[in-house]
Every structure is written in structure tokens, then in C-alpha cells.
């Protein structure tokens, strides 16, 4: 049983690394342009020239999928980072303050939690700014709640612990206690939060681009590719298959990592 759980994490990480290599490193060797059209050869099946076939404008599908994966990964990663940072700040503030401030933050969190992130980003993207990085940044700013709630809970527990009391009794300053002692204890939770929101943002980006509001043509992303498939479904089997394959592998890998971290955290607790 024990070995199994660690395998989860390693497996997920290995796959993720493979995908990152596929998206960022391989293009250096596979020098086909994802933008170059070739209208004489639309929607072709996989061949030697085009290992995954072509899309409806004759662009090489493999190149587009590589670039698309890279685009999706970038936005999702950055958004997860922002979301984590804000979540930690909110969680710490809420965890250490008493009374009104604490409750206010949590109330705000409750309300925001109720909104599906996709709807939020649709509204942001549609009304405020089309640029995908801006809209994802804004979305990340509104996604701090899950992390904050977990961090707050942990901090409230830590505050009651003998360790915390010993540290305070020793007269250590607050920043030292927070950064030097509390954060290392929360490392695992930070990672889990980050990974889960990473998976979530990936799916959001795909959905957003699918609906036409994320990355805009001709810039590929895993979502825009599916969008193209939607509008000409009959000919796009390969697009759907290959894109779907990458998505499944990517998201499963991230989920495996999240599960793996969660499990190894539990192992450490039950000593």
C-alpha cells in the first residue's frame, strides 16, 4: 500500500514532465510552424509529413498541439501561482485575526465560492478585457478562497499547539515564526492547493477558448483546437482524438500528483 501511493506521485510527475518537454522542448527539434497554412491539404489524416494530420486550414496539427499545450500550461501555471499567493495571504490574515476581520474574509469567500469559475471568467473576459493573460489574472484574484479556507483552518490549529506556544514563549518575532516555522509545516498543503487549482485552471482555459473568449485565432490552445473541431465536426476526428488524448493525459497527471501529495501528507501525520 505504501509503495503504491508514492508511485502515484512519481507517475504523475513523470508524465507531467513528459508533457512539458513535449510542449516546450520538442518544438526546438520539430521545426514545423503551427501557423503556416496549406489550403491544399485540409483535415488530412496522419502521415509522414504531418504525424498528426492537419486542421481545416492545412496547418500541421502536431505543431499546433505542441504550441497549444504550451499556451494552456503557461496561463494555467501563472494563474495558479497568483491564486496561491493571494490565498495564503488571505488565509494568514483570516487565521491570525479575531472577530470581525476574520469573519468578513470568510463571508466574502463564501459568496465568491458560489460562482462557477467559468461564468466568472466569461463575465470578466466579455466585459472587462479580452486579453487572456489579463482575464486569467483577474480570475486568479478571485480564486483565492479554497486555499484561504484551508490555510486558515491549519493556522487556527497551529495556534493552539504546544509548538506555537513554545515559539511565542521564546520571544520569537512574528515574521520569524510565520515564515520560519509555520510555512514549512504548511508546505504540503500549499502544494496540494497549487496542483488542484492548476488542474482546474487548465480545464477553465480549455473551456474558455472553446467558447471563443480565450486565446484567439490563430493562436492555438487546447481549447481553440476543439473549437475548430466543433464547427466542422464531420471532418475533425483526428483533431478531437489527439487533442483529447493530450488533455486526458495532462489533467490525469496533475490529478495523480495532487492525490499523491495528499496521500503522502497523510502518511506523515499517522506516525
Amino acid at each position: 500500500m505504501k509503495i503504491r501511493k508514492i508511485d502515484n506521485l512519481r507517475f504523475g510527475l513523470a508524465v507531467l514532465v513528459l508533457i512539458v518537454v513535449f510542449a516546450f522542448v520538442l518544438p526546438v527539434f520539430y521545426r514545423v510552424s503551427p501557423y503556416e497554412q496549406d489550403l491544399s491539404n485540409p483535415l488530412s489524416a496522419p502521415s509522414i509529413d504531418h504525424p498528426m494530420g492537419t486542421d481545416m486550414y492545412g496547418r500541421d496539427l502536431m505543431a499546433r498541439i505542441m504550441k497549444g499545450t504550451a499556451n494552456t500550461l503557461m496561463v494555467s501555471f501563472l494563474a495558479s501561482l497568483v491564486s496561491l499567493i493571494i490565498g495564503i495571504i488571505a488565509g494568514v490574515i483570516s487565521g491570525f485575526s479575531r472577530g470581525i476581520i476574520s469573519e468578513l474574509v470568510m463571508r466574502l469567500a463564501d459568496v465568491l465560492l458560489g460562482f462557477p469559475k467559468l461564468v466568472m471568467i466569461l463575465l470578466i473576459s466579455g466585459i472587462l478585457s479580452r486579453d487572456i493573460f489579463v482575464s486569467f489574472f483577474l480570475l486568479a484574484c478571485l480564486s483565492w478562497m479554497e486555499t484561504a479556507r484551508i490555510i486558515r483552518g491549519e493556522i487556527k490549529v497551529i495556534k493552539e499547539s504546544l509548538l506555537y506556544k513554545s515559539l511565542v514563549a521564546a520571544g520569537l518575532s512574528f515574521p520569524k515564526v510565520l515564515l520560519g516555522y509555520i510555512f514549512p509545516l504548511l508546505r504540503g498543503k500549499f502544494l496540494v492547493s497549487f496542483t488542484l487549482s492548476f488542474a482546474s485552471f487548465i480545464l477553465i482555459e480549455i473551456s474558455l477558448s472553446f467558447l471563443g473568449l480565450g486565446y484567439a485565432s490563430p493562436e492555438p490552445s487546447l481549447g481553440t483546437l476543439l473549437r475548430q473541431a466543433r464547427y466542422d465536426p464531420a471532418g475533425s476526428y483526428w483533431i478531437v482524438i489527439f487533442t483529447g488524448l493530450i488533455i486526458i493525459i495532462l489533467v490525469s497527471a496533475v490529478n495523480f500528483i495532487a492525490d499523491g501529495i495528499k496521500d503522502s501528507l497523510e502518511e506523515n501525520v499517522s506516525r
Partner: protein, 321 residues
């Protein structure tokens, strides 16, 4: 108890107030003439004047704000730019197919998911469990609309079994009552299947985890070793305890009822909220966008409050967090 409910109500009202106000200010952040936001610039001058009067758009911002609040509470969101209808009725029409889709998917998804989750938790480690877990992981990692696309391609385009779009056929009006019902069902079958599968995956994953926790908890092990009938323990304790977090999960899945099915609706061209949200945003139909945003807000806050109160009734230990 009553104090709890009243307190919750007051907080919810404050939150709603803040949210509705925010929507107002958000729109006023958009560069350009606010009149152009509420009233279609393409309308003839006389009609526009009338609407300006009605919605108080020529008045100072503060008064506009109050008027907006007043209208919002009365659910009067003005007229859509694109369609010759009141925003509210547009939303109402769009809500029906969406509710049909999401409610049935939720029903099937929750039941199926819980069943699979609990079953695979009890048969942990067996082939059944491993197959289910792999399947769950698959459906959990896949965007629902991709699934929809695949089903669409397979069953609609390729095999031609199911219709590929809309919620009724062209000749719907000519069908008998039974025919009409059947027509609806067959149009909804694919989208519902798609959504149900995705939901089932989430619920199965979650239920399995909490069921495993319950089964291996010291309470259960203690009870079994004391010789209490295993079935009894499982039903009375494990089930109940693993279902409590599920109720919470359903609570979080509820906003999904309006907004979560967006992508699937787009794939299947269903005339529901999803399509309305996307099209109104893309075509800058601001009254509709604001109306949807405000309604969602009302709904979310109201529902949160309801869930809190119900949780408190079920388990009085639950306090406002």
C-alpha cells in the same frame, strides 16, 4: 435557532446589496456612454427618450444607482439589445432547457456517483474497484464538452442515431403529446449523458474517499470487533457519515445548475442559459449580461444561506465558519 437564521438572513441581504452595487459600478467602468450600455443605440430617438426616462439615465450617477437597485430588486433589467424582448423573459425562456439538462444530469450523476463510490470503497482493491477508479479518473480529467463532442461525433454524425442539436426537431409542433415528450427526451439524451458522466466521476471520487475513511475509522473497527452486525454498521454509520460531505458537495454543485452546463450546451446547440450567456457577452448585450450576473448572484447567496441553515439543522454543531 431563530437567532441563527435571522443573522444569516441579514448577512445575506448585506452581501446581496454589495453584489448588486458592484455589478452597477462594474458596468460603469466600461469606457463610453453609459446610456449606450443600457439602451440600444440603434433604436429610434423617441423610443430611446422614453427608456431614458424610465431608467433614469439622464440623472446623476447616485440617483441612477438607486434606480438600478430599485429595478434590480423588482427584477426589471430592461430590454435586450439584440432580441426584441425584455431581458427577464429572455432569461426565463433560456432557463427551461438548462434546468431540464442540469437537474436530470445532477440527479443521475449524484445517484450513480454515490453508488459507484460506495461500492468501490467497499470492494476496495478488487478488480471492480480498479476498473471503476480508472474510469472515474478518465471522466474526471476530461472536459465535459470534449466528451460531448466525442459522443456527438460517434452517435450523431457517424452512426446517425441521435439528433445533433437543439432541443426539438423541426417538425416538433406536429407531433402528438407523447411524440413531443419523446422528441424532447431524444434531444436531451446525449447532453444529459455527457454531463451525468462528468458529475458521476466527481461524486464517485468523493464518495469513495469519504466512505473509505468511514470504513477504516476507529469507530467502525471498534464496532466490528465488538461483534455488531457488519451490515448494520455500514448502513447506519458509514453511509450516513460519508453522505454528509456529499451534501456539502451538492451544495457546491448547485451554482453549476445555472452556469456549469455552458460548454455542453454550446456543443449541442441547446437554447439554454449557456448559449445565452456566451452570446450576450460576445454581442455586448449589456442588459442581459447584467441581468444574468445579478440573478446568479441572488441565487448563489440565497442558496448558500439555505445550505447553511439546513446544515445547521442537521448538525447543530455546524457554526458559521
Amino acid at each position: 435557532m431563530a437567532a441563527f437564521i435571522i443573522r444569516r438572513l441579514i448577512i445575506s441581504l448585506i452581501v446581496i446589496f454589495v453584489g448588486v452595487s458592484l455589478t452597477f459600478f462594474l458596468v460603469h467602468l466600461i469606457p463610453g456612454d453609459p446610456t449606450g450600455i443600457f439602451i440600444n443605440p440603434a433604436l429610434p430617438e423617441s423610443v430611446r427618450q422614453g427608456l431614458v426616462e424610465r431608467y433614469g439615465l439622464s440623472q446623476p450617477v447616485a440617483l441612477q444607482y438607486l434606480k438600478w437597485l430599485y429595478n434590480a430588486v423588482r427584477l426589471d433589467f430592461g430590454y435586450s439589445f439584440i432580441y426584441p424582448e425584455k431581458t427577464l423573459s429572455l432569461i426565463g425562456d433560456a432557463l427551461v432547457p438548462t434546468l431540464a439538462l442540469t437537474l436530470s444530469s445532477l440527479f443521475i450523476g449524484v445517484l450513480g456517483g454515490c453508488f459507484i463510490g460506495i461500492a468501490s470503497a467497499m470492494k476496495k482493491g478488487t478488480l471492480f474497484d480498479r476498473i471503476c477508479s480508472t474510469a472515474v479518473m478518465f471522466f474526471y480529467s476530461v472536459p465535459s464538452f470534449w466528451l460531448g463532442l466525442v459522443l456527438l461525433l460517434l452517435l450523431s454524425y457517424w452512426l446517425g442515431i441521435f439528433p445533433s442539436s437543439q432541443i426539438r426537431s423541426i417538425h416538433h409542433e406536429h407531433l402528438s403529446f407523447v411524440g413531443k415528450v419523446f422528441d424532447y427526451i431524444i434531444h436531451l439524451l446525449l447532453p444529459v449523458t455527457t454531463l451525468s458522466l462528468t458529475l458521476m466521476a466527481s461524486f464517485a471520487k468523493y464518495t469513495r474517499e469519504s466512505m473509505i475513511n468511514a470504513l477504516s475509522s476507529s469507530y467502525t473497527i471498534g464496532a466490528i470487533s465488538r461483534g455488531i452486525d457488519k451490515r448494520k454498521i455500514i448502513f447506519k454509520y458509514c453511509f450516513k457519515n460519508s453522505l454528509i460531505p456529499v451534501i456539502n458537495l451538492i451544495g457546491t454543485a448547485v451554482p453549476f445548475i445555472i452556469g456549469g452546463a455552458i460548454t455542453v450546451e454550446v456543443v449541442f446547440s441547446l437554447p439554454g442559459m449557456g448559449r445565452l450567456i456566451v452570446s450576450s457577452i460576445l454581442s455586448r448585450d449589456y442588459p442581459v449580461v447584467m441581468g444574468i450576473a445579478t440573478l446568479m448572484f441572488f441565487f448563489v447567496v440565497f442558496f448558500n444561506m439555505l445550505v447553511d441553515i439546513i446544515s445547521h439543522i442537521i448538525d447543530p454543531r455546524v457554526q458559521l465558519q
